[in-house]
């Protein structure tokens, strides 16, 4: 009996359930699609150990954020139910009046929401399975691999996880609904008018002043953020955050009043059709809901920033990986010894030759490499300031904070013979310096321009008793394999000068042994791992934590602190890229759907609360299409106000970030950010249109001829 009533109600109130349905279905679809990524990844051809670990990492992140997503969805379900109850309060009031117990009324509602929930679960899963098929192709592309064995898979794990989460959400929301209905007073449910009449905005002047103040606060916040540069959480950052929050809320508290003040002054614009009504309606709505507008704006800001920064980082990690990984492998010794470190003795005994040391400890080393070249970075109490001071307008070439750091670091020297041996491994032409010349080599994006400026014969340096000037034309050849091109303004000097520096005992700042395998990279990586574990066995015979190369040996300041192979770096970069993109998409999308749904529900409840006002307008002879137009304006502005402010915040944050992070690292993510912005606008527009259509339907239905007595 109750079930029949519920079924009929759902059919009748189908329209009211639309936003509820769309939101839960979209949420479920995303939930499933991202939780199924791991299952889908099994289809990929050639997934290396590193790539597989990245998939694991992604799965962990997705599971973690899924909890957040489930909470957001739960909140939305509760919020949407509240709207449905409010809209149908007279119906529920009638049930109660007829003597139905509150428990049975909540059971009707429970069955209704369960029906809609099941429908949206089904729709969401179908959509999610479709999306996840697309995602597996995206995964293949992001991981730089192919999927020749594609077949349609459905992840039962993900379905189970999704269903369990949805059930939990429903359990919580039903509990909240039951409590809400039990606490409702019958007289409130049955009274024809909403609780209280809403007054217009008073003290418009105060609001207008507050509006100006809010703009000033936001300007201050932007300025503080620029000073902070989004590098560290210093007082500037917290000041910016606090100012931005206060400014945002103050903005929504006062914007409506300000708009009314300005618009109503201009009589000729204000006194046209029902424009005054539209302005007042909107302003009183924004005015009463300013807090939730503020929250919506902040959430949108997070969604937009997550998506944009994610896209920016994607560009960063995919940009120069090929340039960064030209050597098959690089073994690095940090040479930063603790007091009485035994590794220092090893270094002296082997005269600093890593390859010779390893060959002596593991017999196969000679077979592994076709050729190897060691590059020692030498230092001698000289900072880059001596060089940069000779460049005019160095500050014009790069970010001030980066320049400052460069100036304070020690100059790294590399001898010509070591340099030439290393670049020969990757087929670059060798360097031939005149006796009084030095060369500059750099691949680090943020110092490229400075390197070019330094490679000018006018730039001079005095080192180890030699006066040198720069050779014309900077070099941009990598001296190691790593995640990003990171050869930093290395100064290449003649061997006699280098020998002079080496006279100081601790001149070597770090050593890099670049390898060219005799075999292909995959076999070479496996063999290298074996040899390293043989030459540098793990302390106390521990078993490796994973099969990654850096877990196979005992690291020491010398001979090997870290090992990086080209394949490993590429897999990690692509994997990291995937993790970033997926997490940014997942979080950004869910936040977006959540905020759009909140706005939609608010606008719909506003519409049903205002039906009496529309009815009055209609009775006064206002055309239904004029009313619909007013409704459209209201919906568009109501949706766009928080979006525009959030977009301003995001633009500020992304610009600052691009100054401090993207530009120094040499990436320009504007294209990808534009794509992210476009898809966000698309989802937002979907909600906007759906909301307008629904509220228009509600209003026009209420304007049908009134039954006379």
């Amino acid at each position: 009996m109750l079930a029949r009533l519920a079924l009929r109600n759902v059919r009748r109130a189908g329209r009211d359930y639309a936003i509820y349905f769309i939101t839960v279905a979209l949420g479920i679809a995303m939930f499933y699609a991202f939780n199924a990524v791991r299952g889908q990844a099994a289809l990929l051809d050639a997934l290396s150990a590193d790539a597989a670990r990245m998939v694991e990492l992604l799965d962990m992140f997705v599971k973690l954020f899924s909890v957040v997503v489930a909470c957001v969805l739960g909140f939305l379900v509760v919020y949407a139910n509240r709207f449905l109850i409010r809209r149908r309060r007279r119906e529920f009031g009638t049930y109660l009046l007829l003597g139905m117990s509150a428990g049975r009324v909540s059971r009707v509602l429970l069955i209704e929401t369960a029906l809609v929930g099941l429908a949206s679960l089904a729709a969401g899963l179908v959509l999610g399975i479709a999306i996840s098929q697309g995602l597996s192709f995206a995964t293949a592309a992001l991981m730089g691999t192919t999927m020749t064995r594609y077949r349609f898979v459905v992840s039962t794990d993900a379905i189970a996880f999704t269903t369990v989460c949805l059930l939990a959400i429903f359990a919580v929301s039903s509990l909240v609904d039951v409590i809400y209905i039990r606490r409702c007073r019958l007289v409130d449910l049955c009274s024809p008018h909403q609780a209280s009449e809403r007054a217009g905005i008073r003290h418009v002047g105060v609001r207008a002043a507050a509006f100006v103040a809010s703009l000033a606060l936001l300007a201050c916040a932007y300025w503080q953020l620029k000073v902070n540069g989004l590098q560290e959480a210093d007082p500037h950052f917290w000041a910016a955050t606090a100012l931005m929050l206060v400014g945002t809320f103050l903005f929504f508290w006062s914007a409506a009043g300000f708009a009314v003040l300005v618009l109503s002054r201009s009589r000729s614009a204000y006194l046209r059709g029902i424009r005054a009504f539209t302005v007042r309606q909107l302003s009183s709505k924004i005015n009463t809901a300013f807090a939730s507008m503020g929250v919506v704006c902040v959430m949108l800001f997070f969604a937009l920033t997550t998506a944009s920064v994610g896209m920016g980082l994607l560009e960063l990690f995919s940009g120069n990986i090929r340039e960064a990984t030209r050597y098959d492998a690089t073994l690095t010794a940090s040479c930063s010894f603790a007091e009485g470190d035994p590794a220092q003795g090893e270094l002296e005994a082997a005269r600093g030759d890593i390859a010779a040391y390893l060959s002596g400890r593991a017999a196969g080393f000679g077979d592994l490499v076709r050729a190897s070249a060691q590059v020692d970075y030498l230092a001698c109490d000289l900072t880059y300031q001596t060089l940069t001071d000779q460049v005019r307008d160095a500050s014009r070439l790069m970010d001030a904070s980066v320049l400052d750091r460069v100036k304070r670091s020690q100059v790294w020297f590399v001898s010509q013979s070591q340099y030439n041996a290393s670049v020969a491994l990757i087929g670059e032409k060798s360097l031939d310096l005149a006796p009084d010349e030095f060369a500059v080599d750099n691949t680090f994006a943020s110092t490229n321009a400075l390197a070019d400026a330094l490679a000018d014969p006018a730039v001079r340096i005095s080192v180890a008793g030699h006066d040198l000037h720069a050779a014309r034309g900077a070099r941009h050849v990598s001296l190691d394999t790593s995640a990003i091109p990171d050869t930093p303004l290395v100064v290449v000097i003649g061997d006699d000068v280098a020998a002079g520096i080496r006279l100081r005992g601790d001149a070597v700042a770090s050593s890099h042994l670049n390898l060219a395998y005799a075999s292909d990279r995959e076999a070479g990586d496996r063999r290298l791992a074996q040899l390293l574990s043989q030459a540098l066995p793990l302390a106390d015979g521990a078993t490796p934590a994973s099969d990654a190369i850096e877990d196979q040996f005992e690291p020491a300041p010398w001979p090997v602190t870290s090992a990086a192979t080209a394949n490993q770096m590429r897999d990690q970069a692509t994997g990291l890229r995937m993790v970033i993109v997926y997490v940014a998409l997942y979080i950004g999308f869910i936040m977006l759907v959540a905020t759009a749904a909140v706005l939609a529900i608010q606008q719909l409840s506003e519409t049903s609360d205002s039906l009496e006002r529309y009815r009055r307008l209609f009775d006064l002879g206002c055309e239904p299409r004029t009313i619909a137009r007013s409704l459209r304006t209201q919906t568009v502005i109501y949706f766009c106000a928080p979006l525009v402010l959030a977009a301003c915040h995001t633009a500020c944050a992304v610009l600052v970030l691009s100054g401090s992070l993207f530009e120094p690292l040499g990436t320009n993510p504007s294209g990808l950010i534009a794509i992210a912005a476009g898809s966000i606008a698309g989802v937002y527009a979907l909600y906007l249109v759906a909301t307008y259509q629904l509220s228009r339907g509600i209003v026009l239905a209420s304007l049908r001829p009134r039954r006379s007595e």
Binding site: E197, G200, Q281, L620, G621, P705, R706
Partner: protein, 267 residues
């Protein structure tokens, strides 16, 4: 009595502004027909203040709604100034309402989010009156009905009487041919009832408005120039005030009511 404007528009042969001819209204389907109006004919001349009285369910509100074009009769014609409103196209109804009619509703029916000024101005802006003219006309009308003081207030900040005056101002500011009042005193206490009836009187006598009012309150009807009684969908009787005082007129209305069967408001 000053007839300022409406006299110019008297054109029909019978000299009537509003003319209902054999109007009928039937609700429901074949099985259960309800006859709300049964062959009602009525003429209202320019400058008249006509009250329609009848008990609940007598059809008096249906009659008003048909004139207001909110409802349509199933038979007969309703002519306003020679134009048959029952034949208006759906698309023209809203235009007709905002240009020819003014409304005073049971509760003041002001929009709570608009100031007094904006509420009154709405009647003009809806008709597309030029903005500079709106200001002038609203203020002129407000000063006649003594509500200039509350033009910048919201309905929630006004007294009940002020709200009714503002609503009356909104009804008359566009100089409509006919003002319709639906149970205007129904939701008011006695003090505000008196205020509203004064305003209606003033609109009728000083501003030349033609008013058609539906009421079940004999005291309200006693302010009209003519009272028409409706019962079971038919016109039953009619009283003219003539030169009698409000009290005499009230007594006469009460007599008809007693004859009609006591309490008109038998709910």
């Amino acid at each position: 009595m000053t007839r300022t404007k409406a006299s110019a528009s008297v054109a029909t042969a019978s000299n009537a502004l509003l003319e209902l001819t054999h109007v009928g209204k039937v609700y429901g389907s074949k099985g259960a027909l309800t006859c709300a109006l049964d062959d009602v004919s009525l003429a209202v001349r320019t400058g008249e203040f006509v009250a329609i009285m009848g008990p609940s369910g007598s059809g008096k509100s249906t009659l008003l709604n048909c004139v207001a074009t909110i409802d349509t009769p199933t038979s007969g014609t309703i002519e306003l100034d020679g134009r048959d409103v029952t034949r208006l196209r759906r698309a023209d109804l809203a235009q007709f309402r905002r240009e020819e009619l003014g409304f005073v509703f049971q509760d003041s029916n002001l929009l709570d989010t608009l100031t007094g000024f904006e509420n009154i101005a709405l009647a003009l802006t809806l008709r597309g009156v030029a903005p500079h003219e709106v200001d002038e006309r609203v203020r002129a009308c407000a000063s006649r009905l003594e509500v200039e003081g509350v033009l910048d207030k919201f309905p929630g900040q006004m007294s009940g009487g002020q709200r009714q005056r503002v609503a009356a101002c909104r009804a008359i500011v566009g100089s409509p041919k006919l003002i319709l009042a639906d149970e205007p005193t129904g939701a008011l206490d006695s003090k505000n009832t008196a205020v509203l009836l004064d305003v209606l009187d003033q609109m009728n006598r000083d501003m030349g408005a033609t008013i058609l009012m539906v009421t079940h309150d004999a005291y309200a009807a006693a302010h009209s120039t003519r009272t028409v009684f409706v019962r079971d969908g038919r016109l039953f009787n009619e009283l003219r005030r003539g030169e009698s005082t409000v009290n005499d007129y009230y007594q006469r209305i009460m007599e008809v009511m007693a004859f009609l069967g006591g309490d008109l408001d038998a709910r």
